[in-house]
């Protein structure tokens, strides 16, 4: 490719204009320095200087729909808002959980509970977007999610595997925002099924596959010679990378059959449990940011019946995840975050036995990756209505995660139209959570 066309494409300022120039960069492979990486990280942006990191990977567990704080991580025994759910003690002094979490209680010396989360968004879509991006939902721009920021700033750990994976969730997924599409998470619908189309089609053996690839390479080479364009080259490289992935020993990261039965049972024979197990496998193989989604937390009706079904699933999976990561020595480098878009009203609706949306106070859980265990951060009042101590905003939580990863919070990355953005939108990391 000619220098001139490289530079002119670097100047392009369409939304998709800042695309990497080779598939190495599309994949985030730092094999050979590209022209632009020699010129600086990206056109128009300062080089990204990472700070000291306490975590390398993130497993982000998202309770979609709005998880009740009173019935999970911020119980208020005896309060009239508490309802029928009891509180239990944990391995951490002074940290209580609801009775739904007996397994997690035994792991609480590894985890910190933030009881003082606050959001400004009270509708699902807006609140989920805010949690993931730290910015409020606008019609004019899309903001990158934290997983996209992480990979954009820190790069991939394993060059062959994707850097950002989303397990479950079904509906919409976190956005790459104004970053190039390579920062979109790779969606995995069903943990058990693994990475779609990553195995050869039925009836195609390795010999046939290779024969086809050879013929393909020949015909594509002729085309690429005739049409020396960035996108053509990117496709040639992407085919190489995809085949490399198919044949990579790392593909085993997606193969749940490798896990012993007892562990699969311990995580729970359900989508979320197996999703957490897959997440562990993925970070083990160097996927930097994995999100696992649990749906169905919007408990306007029958809050207690619903949570009675949902919480044991979470309890089993998260407790197993923490124990498993710890046993493998991965917990120190993996930050596990359990979050939701908002809490639920302390007042229980009379006729539905439900709780409604409540962004004023809710809880999150953080563990590993440099986080101090056995800690309870912040406080709500006696009825769980208001944060009275150590408030943590949504950008603050994301800044805390970014801080653990060593992402520079001040570093500005501009959108295609030149608007400046920073990871976690000026949130302040909760330094007291770190060991």
């Amino acid at each position: 490719m000619h220098l001139r066309s490289l530079l002119s494409s670097a100047d392009a300022v369409t939304r998709r204009g800042f695309l990497s120039l080779t598939a190495q960069r599309l994949f985030g492979v730092a094999a050979a320095p590209t022209l632009l990486s020699l010129l600086g990280q990206d056109p128009g942006d300062e080089p990204i200087v990472l700070g000291p990191a306490t975590a390398r990977n993130v497993i982000y567990l998202f309770m979609r729909g709005g998880m009740s704080h009173l019935d999970t991580f911020d119980p208020k025994p005896g309060a009239k808002t508490q309802g029928p759910v009891q509180a239990i003690s944990t391995r951490a002094d002074g940290v209580q959980l609801s009775e739904y979490f007996p397994h997690l209680a035994r792991q609480m010396h590894k985890a910190a509970v933030v009881c003082s989360m606050q959001s400004t968004q009270g509708a699902h879509e807006q609140a989920q977007y805010f949690m993931r991006t730290s910015y409020t939902l606008r019609g004019t721009i899309q903001h990158p999610s934290l997983g996209a920021w992480t990979n954009r700033m820190a790069g991939k750990v394993n060059p062959t595997l994707p850097g950002h994976v989303m397990v479950g969730g079904g509906g919409e997924m976190p956005t790459a925002g104004f970053f190039p599409p390579q920062y979109l998470p790779l969606p995995i619908g069903d943990a058990e099924a693994g990475l779609r189309n990553s195995a050869r089609a039925k009836g195609v053996n390795e010999q046939t596959f290779q024969r086809r690839l050879d013929k393909l390479a020949a015909i594509n080479r002729a085309f690429a010679d005739q049409h020396p364009q960035r996108k053509v080259q990117a496709y040639s490289d992407m085919y190489d990378e995809a085949v490399k992935l198919m044949r990579s020993a790392d593909l085993v990261a997606f193969d749940m059959a490798q896990e012993p039965e007892h562990l699969r049972v311990a995580y729970g024979d359900d989508d979320f449990g197996q999703g957490c197990l897959l997440a562990r496998r993925l970070v083990e193989h160097g996927v930097r940011f994995v999100e696992v989604v649990s749906n169905g937390w919007d408990t306007h009706n029958q809050n207690f019946d619903t949570l009675g079904e949902k919480c044991p699933v979470i309890d089993r999976a998260v407790a197993s995840l923490l124990a498993d990561l710890d046993a493998r020595g991965l917990l120190s480098e993996t930050l596990v975050v359990l979050a939701t878009e908002f809490g639920r009203t302390p007042d229980i609706t009379k006729d539905n036995n439900g709780r409604n949306h409540y962004p004023k106070a809710f809880s999150a859980l953080l563990a590993g990756g440099g986080i101090r265990g056995g800690v309870r951060w912040g406080k709500t009042d006696a009825e769980g209505r208001d944060v009275v101590e150590g408030a943590v905003s949504v950008p603050d939580l994301n800044a805390t995660i970014a801080h653990a990863l060593g992402l520079p919070l001040q570093h500005v990355i501009k959108s295609a139209s030149g608007r400046p953005f920073t990871v976690a939108d000026k949130g302040k990391p909760v330094l007291g959570l770190f060991a």
Partner: protein
């Protein structure tokens, strides 16, 4: 190669004079514009010491033309028909036969859906299908562009009422009037103002106050219609009140769900006033002060406003809805005045933007890049051409079909591609080499599976009918019906399983009036429906197919239209007949279909999932293993290997294999065993589908 007689006939029939509006431009007008454009382009090239690229051969042309106009590769029959047509005129007659066809409208729809952010659901509760129907209808009627824009901007009334889909435009930015205005200015006038939403624009001249003066045109616009007074609504409220005795809050919630369908819409003709934000920081005005509508460039707009009797006091706010400030001023038709200003011939940017958009769509690079960030000092790569195109689109009365026809008729469209990048400002030697869009890719793959694909397109209103029916039912329902609806909604909350069963029975009963099915059968079918849903969720096509067969054997109607549409499955329907956007994980999304969240969010970049899908998924499952597919039938019908190879090349690449290619593929099956032939055929199809030549448009 045998041609498919059926396809040939279809094409011949459709080679009628281009369908132009009755008052459309004459052939002479089109021709003179074509000549003028080619002259300017070639003069520009000469001035820069460059030569135009050579004219492409017929097979490159026919593939390019079909992809550019109807958004899919041509079938073997269409390639054959082209070859047989009068060589002196066939390029232009082919273009004319395709422009305005249903396939063309389908292809145009994706472009508009990306620009207008058209979604199947405007939000969780409200269908966006009427909005999409409105777009499809405008394209079918070739509604002039200025009329289209005006309708979108002034739309008013219920969103789900028939023929009122244009309301979807403002509803895309529900309760975000500032974003709405920033999007409008960008989309139609190529002016980027979103920076000025929060502060004076750092690089351009715009002041925050100027931005709010624009927002003021839509002042007082509401996102609900006012049908509170209608007897139906009153009756419904009374019914809900009665039901509250028994069901409490749930009745209230059920009522809200119904009301949402009934009341969503746009209301208010515009007051011409809006308040500045609370944190306004510049000396030229005070925070919260109402500002009056005014335009930043172009003609002045005469308004008849009543100055509101409000000071800088804090407006009333609804809890948790910071945007929802109480309106300022009285209705004064300022929205219509704004729309008129946008589309006016005096507006210097309106024609520039659309002319550039269509030029870019046809040739890959706009004359001004980026085309939606125009500044006073923006200079087109060819100022003469830009000026000509602006004048042309005005002279054509914003007839987009005619304008597109002019561009397609140019010599430039027939030239070999350039291999540059979208940001290049080099003169136009030929169209830019581009990857197919996601929709072109999907529709091209379908062309290889489903015969007569363009004939399978559904009517523009098909997907919207359900929303209309629901709205109409609610707005004209008897009290008894409404009560039933309420009760169903309550059941949805109390016993979702029973509710779904009931809905399934209703759907089944509705589609199956001719052939009544027994309850027992439905009972038997229920686990199969569950299995079907699970298989589709898993993406397990084998299980899905098996279950479908079992259901058919049982004689139960397949899950209704609604169920199919809402699922994330890969129904083999034209992209414009699928949900918009397609669900995450769909091939369309893998290939970069817009998520419709921001303007022009689609992309054509390579990604791991899309490559894996072509390597190991779609090709083998839907094409190679599907003996009924168009492609397999065409190849299998030939006995001779050489003819099989030719059939595959024509079907996939619209060209004959070169003698070297033919020899190379023949060599693979030298032994006469049929297994070798089959394996060669499979290899060939697989390789061609994965090739650059397939996904790039030369």
């Amino acid at each position: 190669m045998r041609s498919n007689p059926c396809l040939f006939v279809l094409l011949t029939l459709s080679v009628a004079p281009a369908q132009q509006a009755a008052s459309g431009p004459s052939a002479a007008q089109i021709d003179s514009a074509v000549r003028a454009i080619d002259q300017i382009v070639e003069r520009d090239l000469a001035a820069k010491g460059k030569k135009p690229n050579p004219i492409v051969d017929d097979s490159t042309f026919v593939r390019r033309a079909y992809l550019a106009i109807v958004g899919r590769i041509p079938t073997a029959g269409e390639v054959e028909a082209f070859a047989r047509a009068d060589a002196s005129r066939r390029r232009l007659t082919t273009i004319d036969s395709l422009v305005g066809s249903p396939g063309h409208q389908s292809h145009q729809f994706h472009w508009w859906a990306d620009l207008l952010r058209a979604r199947t659901r405007l939000n969780r509760q409200v269908s966006g299908e009427p909005y999409m129907h409105w777009i499809k209808d405008a394209l079918a009627k070739n509604k002039p562009y200025d009329a289209m824009v005006k309708e979108l901007l002034v739309a008013e009334g219920p969103a789900l009422a028939r023929d009122n889909g244009a309301t979807g435009y403002h509803l895309r930015d529900l309760a975000m009037p500032e974003d709405d205005m920033a999007n409008t200015m960008r989309l139609f006038l190529g002016t980027r103002l979103e920076c000025a939403q929060c502060h004076n624009h750092p690089f351009d001249k715009w002041k925050q106050k100027e931005f709010y003066e624009l927002v003021a045109f839509n002042g007082g616009m509401q996102y609900r219609t006012d049908i509170e007074q209608s007897p139906a609504v009153q009756g419904l409220r009374d019914a809900a009140r009665d039901l509250m005795q028994e069901h409490g809050q749930r009745a209230q919630q059920a009522l809200r769900q119904i009301m949402q369908t009934a009341t969503v819409g746009i209301q208010g003709s515009g007051t011409g006033f809006v308040r500045l934000p609370d944190n306004y920081q510049y000396p030229d005005a005070k925070p919260n002060q109402p500002v009056q509508a005014s335009t930043p460039f172009g003609a002045d707009v005469a308004l008849n406003l009543q100055t509101p009797r409000v000071g800088a006091r804090q407006p009333r706010r609804l809890p948790q809805r910071a945007n929802n400030k109480a309106p300022v001023g009285q209705p004064a038709d300022t929205r219509a005045a704004f729309a008129q200003w946008v589309v006016s011939a005096d507006n210097p940017r309106f024609a520039t933007v659309i002319a550039n958009r269509l030029w870019k769509r046809t040739f890959g690079v706009a004359l001004i890049e980026p085309l939606d960030d125009l500044r006073d000092d923006s200079v087109a790569s060819s100022p003469e051409l830009m000026q000509y195109l602006e004048k042309l689109i005005v002279d054509l009365k914003f007839d987009l079909r005619a304008f597109e026809t002019v561009l397609l008729h140019t010599r430039l469209f027939q030239r070999e591609v350039v291999n540059g990048e979208a940001g290049d400002d080099s003169p136009f030697q030929g169209p830019l080499l581009r990857r197919m869009t996601a929709e072109q890719m999907w529709d091209s793959l379908l062309t290889l599976v489903i015969p007569d694909l363009d004939q399978t397109l559904r009517p523009a209103n098909a997907r919207a009918e359900e929303a209309y029916a629901r709205y109409e039912k609610l707005s004209s329902a008897s009290l008894e019906d409404l009560k039933r609806e309420l009760e169903a909604n309550i059941l949805r909350q109390t016993d979702p399983q029973k509710f779904r069963a009931m809905m399934r029975e209703r759907t089944a009963a509705g589609t199956q009036e001719r052939e009544a099915i027994s309850d027992a059968k439905l009972e038997q079918a229920r686990p199969l429906f569950r299995e079907l849903a699970a298989a589709r969720r898993r993406g397990d096509e084998a299980a899905e197919a098996k279950t479908l067969v079992l259901l058919q054997q049982l004689g139960v109607p397949l899950p209704g239209e609604r169920a199919r549409r809402n699922r994330g499955d890969q129904t083999l329907a034209r992209a414009s007949d699928l949900p918009s956007p397609a669900p995450v994980g769909h091939l369309l999304r893998e290939f970069g279909q817009s998520d419709r969240d921001t303007i022009e969010a689609g992309h054509t970049e390579a990604s791991v999932p899309q490559v894996l899908d072509l390597l190991n998924g779609f090709v083998d499952q839907r094409l190679l293993d599907n003996r009924g597919s168009v492609l397999r039938r065409a190849v299998d019908a030939e006995k001779d290997l050489g003819k099989k190879i030719t059939a595959a090349f024509v079907a996939l690449l619209a060209r004959q294999p070169t003698s070297a290619e033919l020899a190379a593929w023949r060599k693979d099956a030298t032994d006469v065993e049929s297994t070798a032939v089959e394996s060669t055929v499979r290899d060939l199809i697989w390789v061609l589908l994965n090739s650059h030549e397939f996904r790039f448009i030369r």
